[in-house]
């Protein structure tokens, strides 16, 4: 079968270099490893914070030192855990709706130019409104509690998903489209076979932004109108001038954000390894998410 005439026989050696990422130097000191880096930075910042509080005699109702925050976290851990679970619940629920809605709307906007032109100004306008302004209305409609928090989380989280999915769909190479169209492919074929898989890296990137925004949404709503959740805890702590507890609440939100974020980062590597050409996936696997 490979009977090309002899003059042109010399096969090109494949430029495949799979071993590139495997050649990690064997003896990296532990503190230089990827896994250690975020913890070291955190430790350094905490130590500086602690030192500043003691050196300048900052009153604890202005800025409590981390040791005091930690103590408060321990003292109130049962109460905090309850509120944290409530916030996590509303956040995840809002986030799930945002993913479904954002993916659908992003796909629609990326699919149809007409919809894109029609919807984009509206979307931008809507997203420019501070979501705090919505909470009061939501409370008026749905009462105090879980529902306004879920909706606020949804409202904040869905915009980056829409924009990213639409961007992924809109940047399909025209030549790829030509190849498929010249085969008689419908716009639907192109959407399913090229557009959607292509926008997956954009989608996953947006999820990481969206989940952090969902936390912001939940907590904002809880600070305005709720009987539970970290936001409620924050308001409660302020009214009692318990600033260490206030900071403990903030630390818990941040920690939950980081945990959920790294969960998505690890899923992302599995689904969109092709986009990073396999390289950073290997980095993440060897380095571990901090």
């Amino acid at each position: 079968m490979s009977g090309v005439d002899n003059t042109a026989q010399g096969d090109i050696t494949p430029a495949v270099d799979a071993s590139a990422a495997a050649q990690v130097a064997p003896s990296v000191p532990w503190w230089k490893r990827d896994a250690a880096a975020p913890w070291l930075l955190l430790l350094a910042l905490v130590l500086i914070w602690e030192a500043v509080c003691w050196i300048f005699w900052i009153p604890k109702f202005v800025l409590p030192p981390p040791s005091m925050v930690l103590a408060s976290l321990w003292e109130w851990h049962a109460v905090i855990a309850g509120h944290a679970l409530q916030t996590l619940y509303t956040t995840i629920l809002g986030f799930v709706f945002a993913v479904a809605g954002g993916l659908a709307l992003g796909a629609a906007v990326g699919y149809s130019r007409y919809l894109y032109v029609a919807l984009y100004p509206l979307l931008i306008g809507f997203n420019s409104i501070p979501k705090v302004a919505f909470v009061s209305i939501l409370v008026l409609w749905f009462g105090v509690g879980t529902i306004p928090a879920v909706i606020t989380a949804f409202l904040l989280a869905f915009f980056p998903i829409v924009v990213n999915v639409a961007a992924g769909l809109a940047t399909v190479e025209p030549e790829m489209e030509d190849v498929l169209r010249s085969l008689g492919a419908s716009q639907r074929d192109i959407f399913w076979k090229v557009g959607l898989p292509r926008s997956m890296p954009y989608f996953f990137a947006s999820l990481k932004i969206a989940i952090t925004l969902a936390f912001v949404g939940s907590v904002i709503s809880e600070t305005i109108a709720a009987n539970s959740g970290i936001g409620y805890l924050l308001i409660n702590a302020t009214s009692r001038f318990d600033v260490p507890l206030y900071f403990a609440g903030l630390v818990v939100v941040a920690a939950m954000g980081v945990i959920v974020y790294s969960l998505f980062a690890s899923i992302e590597g599995r689904f969109t390894g092709w986009a990073t050409r396999g390289q950073s996936v290997r980095f993440e696997n060897s380095g571990g998410g901090g």
Binding site: M1, S2, G3, V4, D5, T7, A8, G10, D11, I12, P14, A15, V16, A18, E173, E175, M176, D178, V179, L180, R181, S182, L183, G184, A185, D189, K193, V194, P197, R198, M200, T272, W274, A275, R277, G278
Partner: protein, 276 residues
């Protein structure tokens, strides 16, 4: 699939041309302030023929590709393919571009099989005949010297290998017409010449009709039976040249006087077109 080197050179019987570009004008953008890409372009390609289109850059060569495959309509004139006037995307064509445009999330083999998921009747039969289609794709990979690379991702392949895969994808549904838009333009000279031989062998074996758009005159003379020379924008065909060299052509032939003379003649033509 035995090779028939001698038989392939026998002239094809003069039947109706597969492709007919008839007095085609093409204006991009609005009718008043648009860019005129083609003006009165006319040429035809016989069934099983190998035509090359050369010309100065920006002369509307790529527009010809899109017109022929029905991706864009002509402003005036008509495009006839297989006896019918083209009025929408045709499905008897395969296309390959300078950019291999492989989908990075699919393996090379699944990239090559993509047209089978789109073109009828393969689309309907894909589920039932998957093994057969897979074997066909692997045979094509073998023919272009990529056997064993089907399971690799496209980005693990070199540029030349990606272009071979792209060629396989253009041919998997056994199209009657193969449209090539500077397919080897981004490759180094050695790889390019190697792929000329690969393409020529595939063409001689399967005798699909080829339209090759290129700015490489040696490439055109090496591969094509007929070379159409386009003018500067707005493009039209200013001359057509038959290449009287027997097939299969080898790299040795590219140093023969006949070959060099044809290249010179083409160069003169294009040089004149660039000045006007």
């Amino acid at each position: 699939m035995a090779l028939a080197h001698e038989a392939a050179h026998a002239p094809a019987e003069p039947s109706t041309p597969l492709v007919g570009i008839e007095n085609v004008d093409l204006v991009y953008g609005s009718a008043t302030g648009g860019v005129e890409a083609l003006r009165g372009a006319t040429f035809s390609v016989k069934r099983g023929g190998f035509a090359a289109v050369v010309g100065p850059s920006g002369c509307g060569k790529s527009s010809l590709m899109k017109l022929t495959t029905g991706l864009i309509p002509p402003t005036r004139g008509r495009v006839v393919l297989d006896g019918d006037v083209v009025n929408g995307p045709v499905s008897i064509a395969g296309m390959a571009f300078q950019n291999p445009t492989l989908l990075p999330w699919r393996s090379t083999l699944r990239n090559i099989m993509l047209p089978l998921e789109v073109v009828e009747p393969h689309r309907r039969q894909l589920r039932a005949k998957r093994a057969e289609y897979r074997a066909r794709a692997e045979a094509l990979l073998d023919a272009v010297g990529l056997s064993g690379f089907g399971d690799r991702s496209p980005w693990e392949l070199s540029g030349g290998m990606q272009q071979r895969a792209s060629l396989c994808r253009a041919l998997i549904h056994e199209p009657e017409l193969l449209m090539l838009d500077e397919p080897f333009g981004a490759l180094d000279a050695f790889t390019r010449e190697e792929l000329w031989a690969v393409l020529q062998e595939l063409w001689m074996k399967q005798r699909f009709t080829v339209i090759l758009v290129t700015h490489d005159l040696r490439e055109a003379v090496y591969l094509a039976e007929t070379i159409h020379i386009m003018s500067a924008r707005p493009g039209r065909i200013v001359a057509s040249k038959e290449v009287d060299l027997p097939f299969p052509r080898t790299l040795e032939d590219t140093f023969s006087t006949t070959f060099v003379d044809v290249v010179h003649e083409l160069r003169d033509h294009i040089g004149r077109e660039r000045q006007t």
